[in-house]
Subunit: 125 residues, 2 copies
């Protein structure tokens, strides 16, 4: 009878341990699903947060590519300046240099060319 009691105790103990493991396991699974969900959400609805676009071929600096992306998002010179925390003059200088390097005359053309050269993300993907 004592042996039986011990046996039952052991079974009970193992069940408890498994419960804890189960909770841990469930938590990990949950986390994995969370990560996967975020990744999936990103893929499905992405606007490409961070991917490097190489402007080196055309001598575009990283700052200029940055400006280019803002132009492509439809911002005015002043808005670009604000978003980069620089003066309007600075923004205009960057933009002018971009036009020269891309060999275009207007911002709409610059946006087109930048997209065409894959210097900036495309609207859809």
């Amino acid at each position: 009878m004592g042996l039986l009691m011990v046996l039952l105790q052991v079974i009970h103990y193992k069940a408890m341990v498994r419960d804890i493991q189960m909770e841990l396991f469930g938590g990990i699974i949950g986390l994995l699903f969370l990560v996967f969900g975020i990744w999936l959400g990103m893929k499905l609805f992405n606007k490409n947060t961070s991917e490097k676009y190489d402007g080196s071929k055309l001598g575009l600096s990283k700052r200029e590519v940055e400006v280019l992306e803002l132009l492509a998002q439809g911002f005015s010179n002043q808005e670009v300046a604000d978003k980069l925390f620089v003066s309007l003059n600075t923004a205009k200088t960057h933009i002018s240099n971009i036009y020269t390097k891309l060999n275009v005359k207007r911002r709409t053309q610059a946006i087109q060319k930048a997209r065409d050269l894959a210097l900036i993300p495309t609207p859809k993907g």
Copy 2:
């Protein structure tokens, strides 16, 4: 001894049932995390996926869509006017009306929105 065997069988059975329930529970939790993750991913990486628009046409006239296409090709107001054989003033009027109807402030935004609404062909596909 027979009673003991039965007892063990019952315990084992209950553990199995609980295992199944656990798996179900874990699956549900996983799904919830998945949904939450997707939602989070959407929130984090989506910048206005789609904006509800009135009708499919938004009240844009044939001529206005024509102007829109030229804008999207990077032409200046004067160039648009020339291509349509109208005066600069007329082109500007059309363009202004387009901005009003599309509810935008700049031509770059108009181009974007027009593409987004598939009012004009996209550069790629």
